[in-house]
Chain length 348, copies 2
């Protein structure tokens, strides 16, 4: 495909700097108390999930939404996939601190109460919950045409740590540890504002397959996020991970969230393939932008000691993860270095 | 004020029946697993908060939003109050099962990242959290102009039960038990779609005071919801409540959520006064609609044994609740009967 003028996130109207600045202002203004005693906070905003302590139990909790992927669902009038995404974006964040998903609460905000749409979302949420072994303990549906243009699907998930399992925050990572990548199923729930603009700019039909055939483009783009609970529970039961990352917005940069004292030198993050090759060609973006916008084929990263690599791969294979890649290693200097691609990210 | 044609919720475009139908369809489609073992569900959607068990700890969790009150905040460009509401709508739902608030996660969805607005919301959230003694453990800010017309503020709160304190679900309520009402500060976060239409229809200025003087109408309407944590913690420490209700959408009907085997005969719910008299006159609504749309002066209900009424009132007075009203009593027949007003609600 011919090279095109690059379209970055800033150009499609997502101003990450302004959002970060506003969010910092919000957090500074809140100045919340830190409860102590029988119930207390262990780890606040910033990591994949917050950690709480109640008596002898450690709990993990996180909140996230599906974002603009719902606009694609609306165009195709297919809602099950984004229902499943709503579960995935949250339970994978729980797995990324080593917690086992226990319960989800959904927040569905929409302009109209469409029974058919809500049933389809419900089927997808149910499928995601069953994959994660996670219950549903509450939720809220806000139907307010003056607030919402299209259904916004978000939720909160609570997880716990089975007896004897400590949280995995990444603080134990040492230089030399090995990063393993679990394959994604596509863009998961990130990068869709850009993807939709690219499709529009190129005048592509969501109903036609990509060159090479297969499912129509829209269906490929809508593929639900993978849910890594089963694989992670198997690894965590054997206490193998020393670091975990859910590869969401920020792509490979997510690894910079784990431990400020180490960095990663990765030469094994896959080159653009399939849908990622397609988006690379269509967008004209360079590797630096691509690997911080999309997961580029890796949906979840597990860091293990070098001596545990084979055991971890065996456990993963038995839990159904047969295409695990060795991404690279932790190093003493901070930042994430995709050495094969000549890309270096200093932080998250 | 002259009597006007009544404006009900259905007429302003809030079709509760369609929303309930869609929500039932969603829940039926989800069909979630029920995790068992070290972590398990105790009480699912339907009560004020869901209940979970992790090891020996019982946890309460709930999710809710501020709703269309944000549109009033936007008109007045004042955001602190709705920030405080975001905390209130959630922590009061925790108190309504007897839990102590531990941590909030916010979900702020908006069309633009306005730093000044987010800072003001943050100040309000902080004030609410300090009133509730509740921490902040996470959150998500979604800035998507294609999804959101105005800032939608929602969140999730997690609470716990200090050792020796059981949850209060209402199942212990017996006929003869006494319902006490804690005053509200205004409409809290319910009924604003109707209120805004009434103001618009009557051509009232939000900048002018109501007849009788005081703050401008807009400021009165924007008053933040009361947070009842302090009063409830004092009552719960003495194990006095057998039933609790946060009076939200549904007004007095909320009491029908407590125990299917009993009802309430209430002759002490205050008559329309102040802001509630104003909305009664302006809307032309009868008592039946008024008391199921607005809290009508009572923001939280505490049910105690008849022999504990004086002690409960003493504890409440010492925690700052000096205008507690005796609403009435639990009776053997289900439903909520506002006997002085000739209104009877069969269920929630």
């Amino acid at each position: 495909m011919a090279h095109r003028e690059a379209l970055t996130y800033r150009e499609v109207g997502v101003d990450h700097a302004a959002i970060s600045r506003s969010l910092r202002g919000f957090l500074r203004a809140v100045h919340p108390p830190r409860p102590s005693g029988h119930g207390r906070l262990k780890l606040g905003p910033g990591h994949f999930s917050g950690l709480l302590q109640v008596g002898r139990e450690t709990l993990a909790i996180t909140t996230d939404g599906v974002g603009t992927k719902v606009l694609l669902a609306e165009q195709l009038d297919r809602w099950e996939e984004v229902g499943e995404d709503l579960v995935a974006v949250n339970v994978n964040d729980l797995s990324a601190v080593g917690a086992r998903p226990l319960a989800l609460l959904d927040y569905l905000a929409m302009p109209r109460p469409e029974e058919r749409v809500l049933r389809a979302i419900g089927r997808g949420v149910g499928r995601g919950l069953r994959r994660a072994g996670c219950g549903l303990v509450g939720g809220e549906t806000a139907v307010v045409p003056e607030l919402h243009r299209a259904p916004d699907l978000s939720g909160t998930a609570l997880g716990y740590f089975p007896p004897g399992r400590p949280p995995v925050t990444g603080e134990r990572i040492r230089p030399g540890d090995v990063a393993l990548g679990l394959p994604s199923s596509g863009f998961h729930a990130n990068g869709y504002t850009l993807v939709r603009r690219l499709v529009e700019r190129a005048g592509l039909s969501l109903r036609s397959p990509l060159p090479g055939g297969g499912l129509p483009l829209g269906r490929r783009l809508l593929a639900p996020s993978r849910i890594y609970t089963r694989a992670l529970e198997a690894l965590l039961a054997e206490r193998l991970p020393v670091g975990l990352a859910h590869v969401t917005g920020g792509g490979a940069r997510n690894l910079a969230r784990l431990n400020p004292k180490v960095g990663f030198r990765l030469d094994g993050w896959p080159p653009p393939r399939g849908l990622f090759r397609w988006v690379a060609d269509l967008s004209g973006l360079g590797a630096e932008d691509l690997y911080q916008t999309f997961n580029m084929g890796v949906g979840f990263v597990v860091v293990v000691r070098p001596s545990h690599v084979d055991r971890a791969r065996g456990v993963l294979a038995r839990s159904g993860e047969r295409n695990v890649s060795i991404l690279g290693r932790a190093v003493a200097s901070p930042g994430v270095h995709l050495s094969g691609l000549g890309v270096r990210y200093e932080g998250y």
